[in-house]
Amino acid sequence: MTAAADAGAGLQRRAVLVVDDDRDIRETLAEILTDEGYEVLTARNGAEGLAIVAEQRPGLVLLDLFMPVMDGAEFRRQQLSDPEIADVPVVVISAAAGLERKVEPLALAGWLEKPIHIDALFAMVGRYCR
């Protein structure tokens, strides 16, 4: 999880993309990460997220699992099959039951279980966005 620093050259290091269908989560994460000096992008589902990742190449994606249109697992599958964006690190944030087992096949940079603590969030984001 800590080997990410060298990978992904050419990423916008201070940019974080939040992909979540819940407006309160998107806005809350955007507010508190903006306050910390990050540039925050938001998407409402996996499909919107993929388009933004390709355009903006953020330093990190915070990804929800259950979303309409395209869920987090499908986002990750399509991302990994596209060499242009496969190196963008992704951290899942989810309230799903048995999260540890669900995220295992997704080969993620990390995962946070809702409800999350702000310190854990900052530590995780700080690891990838420097």
Binding site: I32, A95, I118
Partner: protein
């Protein structure tokens, strides 16, 4: 009811599926039923295929089967009937059935058996078996309905806790962010800081309750606790849990005394054991506030580790001691103490899934001692 009092069945029609190879014997059975006051309509079969076909059409009030047919044995007929229709009344008749055969037939689910020497008893046996079958059907339907209700409830809990977590996450993050900006900027008064601390504590508690709900709904849905073993130290874990309870213990006026100096290593699920120790300590604090709580980890033998949690609280009456490890149970009225009544149930499942055991010794007013014994390695994995 006696067999002689037949006619008060007032000529009720009885659709009979008879498993019998001899026409004469079928007639004797029909006669016995008529004498008992029934108006039998009989369809006769003498092979497994014919039995299946007839059962497929359905509509029979009772199956009457000869025990010893050359082509289809009575128990085999019973098996086929039960497979196709678990509730239909089934009576065996035989000239030759011995005591052993009769016992075997009843165990396999035959409602009754009647010897051909005593066919006068048949109509009574049929009547009783029809009533019993009705009861069996009602009981099965009730059980099915209960199972469905439980499954629906577990699914609801699962969805509800998932849904609750999302706004809770936003709420907690906002509060934590607010708290940080007040600390950093020094802009807030002490009163505001204190309010935020209280808000944070409440949302933390909400978060824990929601997590517990989700965990329990998963356990309930799967019927057991999934464990992922790793090499770990129970003594270290007990110290960690103790540290987490420091503030709660101070607020309850209880001193947490931990006697776990030596490492106690084993192959266990860290997250599950954490939940187990947490619920035992929470339980001790809840029922024994104002008095010390003693936690001890020991190794009674080379293959076992023992955790003891002792409180000096209200204690548990002997009659309640087994019950407290069941779901939604507690030994006190729920309005007096908070919580779902799930902690000790989950603790027991966790311990049992590790091949260990948990028990309590207590008396009202004497406090309680919970003792958990865990094998260091899964059974069969001992070197």
């Amino acid at each position: 009811m006696t067999a002689g009092a037949g006619p008060d069945r007032s000529e009720r029609t009885l659709r009979v599926l008879m498993v019998e190879d001899r026409e004469d014997d079928a007639k004797l059975v029909a006669l016995a039923l008529r004498r008992g006051g029934w108006r039998p309509e009989i369809e006769r079969v003498d092979s497994a295929d014919a039995l299946r076909t007839a059962m497929g059409c359905g509509g029979f009030d009772v199956v009457i089967a000869e025990y010893a047919l050359p082509r289809l044995n009575g128990l085999e007929a019973l098996r086929i009937v039960r497979e196709l229709s678990p509730d239909v009344p089934f009576v065996l008749v035989s000239a030759t059935i011995g005591e052993e055969g009769a016992v075997e037939a009843l165990k396999a689910g035959a409602g009754d058996f009647v010897t051909k020497q005593n066919l006068a008893r048949l109509s009574t046996a049929v009547e009783r078996e029809i009533a019993d079958a009705q009861l069996r059907r009602e009981r099965r339907e009730t059980l099915d309905a209960l199972r469905q209700a439980v499954a629906a409830r577990d699914q609801f809990l699962n969805i509800a806790s998932h849904e609750l977590k999302t706004p809770l996450t936003a709420l907690q993050l906002q509060l934590q962010s607010l708290s940080r900006s007040i600390q950093d900027g020094g802009a807030g008064s002490d009163r505001v800081s204190a309010k935020i601390r209280t808000l944070s504590r409440s949302t933390d508690r909400l978060g824990e309750l929601v997590n517990r709900l989700l965990d329990v709904s998963n356990i309930a849905a799967s019927g057991h606790v999934n464990i992922v073993r790793e090499d770990m130290d129970l003594a270290e874990l007990v110290h960690q849990v103790g540290a987490r309870f420091e503030r709660a213990a101070a607020e309850a006026g209880s001193q947490l005394r931990i006697d776990a100096a030596a490492p106690a290593r084993g192959s266990w699920d860290r997250m599950r054991l954490d939940a187990m120790v947490t619920s035992l300590v929470a339980n001790a604090l809840k029922y024994g506030p104002g008095r010390p709580i003693d936690l001890a980890v020991a190794a009674p033998d080379p293959t076992t580790v023992r955790l003891t949690v002792r409180d000096h609280g209200i204690g548990i009456a002997p009659a309640d001691q087994a019950r407290i490890f069941e779901r939604f149970e507690r030994a006190v009225p729920e309005r007096h103490y908070g919580g779902f009544g799930l902690g000790l149930w989950v603790a027991r499942l966790v311990v049992e899934e590790h091949g260990g055991r948990i028990n309590v010794s207590s008396a009202p007013g004497q406090g309680s001692v919970f003792e958990v014994e865990l094998p260091r390695a899964p059974r069969g994995a001992l070197r």
